[in-house]
């Protein structure tokens, strides 16, 4: 598949994620949108990794592996982030009995 298709698909997913972050107030949905964005990036990384492999397989059999390793680490970080993030959301819900980010306006002070 032409790499452009993957680029535009990833951009579209990423933009959907951004629109979600911007339009929703529910902290959990916002979190999910961030996951969408991460996945869009992951998809692009894999596509590029395969592109490089196709180009350079003749000289280097493992060309493009780095990209997929990177995706792996992104997933690791995302998992850690989700665990901490959800803990924060739970804590917030306990305090204000809502997951509305508008209650998180303490940044003002």
């Amino acid at each position: 598949m032409p790499i452009n298709y993957y680029i535009f698909l990833s951009l579209a997913l990423f933009a959907v994620g951004i629109v979600g972050v911007l339009t929703r107030r529910n902290a959990i949905i916002i979190f999910m949108c961030i996951e969408i964005m991460l996945n869009a990036v992951n998809l692009l990384l894999v596509a590029f990794s395969k592109m490089h492999h196709l180009k350079q397989a003749a000289t280097l059999a493992t060309a493009g592996t780095n990209g997929q390793i990177f995706v792996f680490f992104i997933m690791v970080v995302a998992a850690a982030e989700v665990s901490v993030g959800l803990a924060i959301i739970v804590m917030m819900f306990r305090n204000v009995h809502s997951v509305d980010v508008n209650f998180l306006n303490r940044l003002k002070h």
């Binding site: 972050v21 911007l22 107030r25 980010v101 306006n105 303490r106 940044l107």
Partner: protein
């Protein structure tokens, strides 16, 4: 080979030294020392000037370059002095008459305290220095420095008694009027630089013929604007009569030897340019003649002894410009010289009268002074005869030369000029008769106080009287004596001799006889009219003339008042609602803007994210589309 004239810098150097010492140490020096220093430095300059004059007479002329005054890329203005026939003649007049006035001042200003005495002499020396710079400069820039220096000194000296508001106003008037003229000079200077690429006289005159007539006409007209300011011509003449606020010797200095002749000198120096611009010449001639007549009519009705002389100066300057305008540069310079003698004489004589009258200047309160002030009377009489143009006094020769040139140029100009000459005779003798003849009309106290002035004042008068009598003999017309016109011959290296003015000898003779006879008739009429003075209320034309044609009032109405209105408008409207509004507006805008921007910090995560995305958007747009 080093030219002997390289040392001409000594001429302005001595007055400068005098100025510095008198100015800086005026509180320490005694009055006699100040007087000796002030006059002595000018005397030394005078002696050097005589030597220079003799050198030039032997055919030696020189441009002495000292250092680069302004250097901008390939364009250079050297600090240089030019010594030739014209400048050496002016050097003689300035330092000679200047010296006599200095000597006269030593007695006239005796009552001043030592500090003011020193200030006075330092100003006088600075005046002489500036004037010397003006006439010696080898380019228009050096001339302009002197030109401005003279303007400054006239301001300082006219406002010498600075505690009097009226005098300060007169000083301001002189300075501002001069500035208007100077602007013309300055623009002409820039035009010369732009069109010729050099300001030195030699370059400008040699390249003048390559310039277009339009350019030359503009340059010469602008130079003439400068001249009208400095030499008190229409429309900038009104400062000169007010310049009487200064001490009388200062008036003599301004009117006779320096300052007002600067314009004449400049045009005579630029005669090459003017000869190429007939339009400018006509303008100069017409303005000159108009000024001559206007000032003469005003002088007829003035009652202040110094005002009469002031207007007579304006009138005589008009004659000089007439001469320059009809191309008779030599005649103009000749009249400058003779005028320097008799006008200095008249002013110093007037000073002597005022001195005797204890500060009284109104001729209606004088009369019959000839018994008490014999020397003053006789010298004053000689001055009057000279200025009226009765042969063989000096004024006759120079004025006749001008009239003759005017006749050769245009008969109408001649007729008007002759009429002006008759007016001159009228107002001068009116002044003489009212002051010295008839019976005394002042207070008893003044009458008791009347005395002849001290020798320090009368000796200069006598010297000047001799000069006023004999000064004309350097320019005897060819008609009377072959080779008698020594002045034209002397000036010929600078000012080309005119080849025949188209007036035959018999006509010339007839003109002289006519003018002399008419002048004599006028004098006789004046004698019968003013022998006995009776005060009459001026009305009609007389009142119009006594009020100086209401020119000051006219200027007040058409220039000063609109300017004041404009100033008030700018102050009240523009300043308040534009400048202030702008300045305060910036503050208000920042205040308001910050209040609005503060709302951005809502603490809402959502809005922060939105802003973040928008900023990213901006960065991307700049990065990808705007940066090339």
């Amino acid at each position: 080979m080093q030219n002997a004239l390289q040392i001409v810098w000594l001429v302005p150097f001595f007055p400068l030294i005098g100025f510095l010492i008198n100015g800086l140490f005026r509180k320490q020096l005694s009055k006699s020392l100040i007087a000796v220093l002030g006059s002595g430095t000018v005397l030394v300059s005078f002696v050097i000037s005589i030597w220079i004059f003799l050198q030039v007479k032997n055919g030696n002329s020189h441009v002495a370059e000292y250092f680069n005054f302004i250097s901008a890329g390939p364009f250079k203005i050297p600090f240089a002095f030019q010594i030739d026939a014209l400048s050496s003649l002016f050097l003689l007049i300035i330092t000679g008459v200047g010296f006599i006035i200095h000597v006269y001042s030593t007695s006239y200003m005796k009552e001043e305290t030592a500090e003011h005495y020193g200030r006075y002499f330092s100003y006088l020396n600075l005046f002489i220095f500036s004037m010397l710079l003006l006439v010696m400069g080898a380019n228009y820039v050096i001339m302009f420095i002197g030109w401005e220096g003279v303007g400054l000194c006239s301001y300082l000296l006219i406002g010498y008694w600075f505690k009097n508001t009226e005098y300060n106003k007169a000083a301001n008037k002189a300075f501002i009027m001069n500035r208007i003229g100077d602007l013309g000079f300055l623009i002409a200077l820039f035009l010369i630089i732009a069109k010729v690429g050099s300001v030195s006289f030699a370059d400008v005159f040699s390249k003048a013929s390559t310039l277009s007539t339009t350019n030359i006409t503009i340059i010469t007209l602008l130079l003439f604007v400068g001249a009208t300011g400095k030499s008190a011509q229409i429309p900038l003449y009104t400062w000169l009569p007010d310049a009487m606020a200064g001490p009388t010797p200062v008036s003599a200095l301004i009117h006779a030897a320096t300052m007002v002749t600067a314009g004449i000198y400049m045009i005579a120096r630029s005669n090459v340019l003017y000869s190429l611009a007939p339009v400018s010449q006509n303008v100069v001639a017409i303005i000159g003649l108009a000024t001559a007549i206007l000032a003469a009519t005003i002088a007829m009705k003035q009652n202040d002894i110094k005002k009469v002389l002031a207007y007579s100066t304006v009138s005589q300057l008009g004659y000089m410009f007439l001469a320059l305008g009809v191309g008779a540069y030599t005649a103009g310079v000749f009249h400058v010289m003779t005028h320097a003698f008799f006008k200095a004489l008249l002013f110093l004589g007037a000073g002597s009268v005022i001195h005797a009258m204890g500060g009284e200047q109104d001729i209606r309160k004088m009369g019959g002074l000839k018994g008490k002030l014999k020397i003053t009377y006789f010298t004053f009489l000689i001055g009057c005869i000279a200025i009226s143009g009765i042969p063989p006094f000096s004024g006759f020769f120079s004025k006749d030369a001008i009239l003759l040139s005017a006749f050769g140029h245009n008969k109408i100009l001649y007729g008007i000029a002759l009429f002006g000459a008759l007016l001159t005779a009228f107002y001068m003798f009116r002044l003489l008769f009212l002051t010295f003849n008839g019976s005394f009309r002042g207070t008893d106290e003044q009458q008791h106080h009347l005395h002849e002035s001290p020798a320090g004042m009368t000796i200069p008068l006598i010297i000047l009287a001799i000069l006023a009598f004999a000064g004309g003999f350097v320019g005897i017309p060819e008609l009377f004596m072959k080779g008698g016109d020594k002045l034209s011959e002397f000036l010929s290296p600078v000012i080309p001799v005119q080849q025949g003015d188209g007036v035959s000898s018999s006509t010339e003779m007839m003109l002289m006889v006519i003018s002399t006879v008419l002048v004599l008739l006028v004098i006789i009429y004046t004698w019968f009219r003013f022998r006995k003075y009776q005060a009459v209320e001026e009305k009609g034309l007389g009142k119009f003339l006594a009020n100086k044609w209401y020119v000051d009032e006219l200027y007040e109405q058409i220039i000063v008042k609109p300017l004041n209105k404009l100033g008030a408008f700018l102050n009240n409207i523009i300043e308040r609602s534009v400048i202030d509004a702008l300045v305060n507006g910036v503050g208000k805008l920042v205040n308001y803007g910050s209040r609005q921007v503060r709302l951005l910090q809502s603490g809402q995560v959502g809005s922060y994210v939105l802003l973040m995305v928008l900023s990213m958007l901006l960065v991307f747009v700049i990065q990808f589309f705007l940066r090339k």
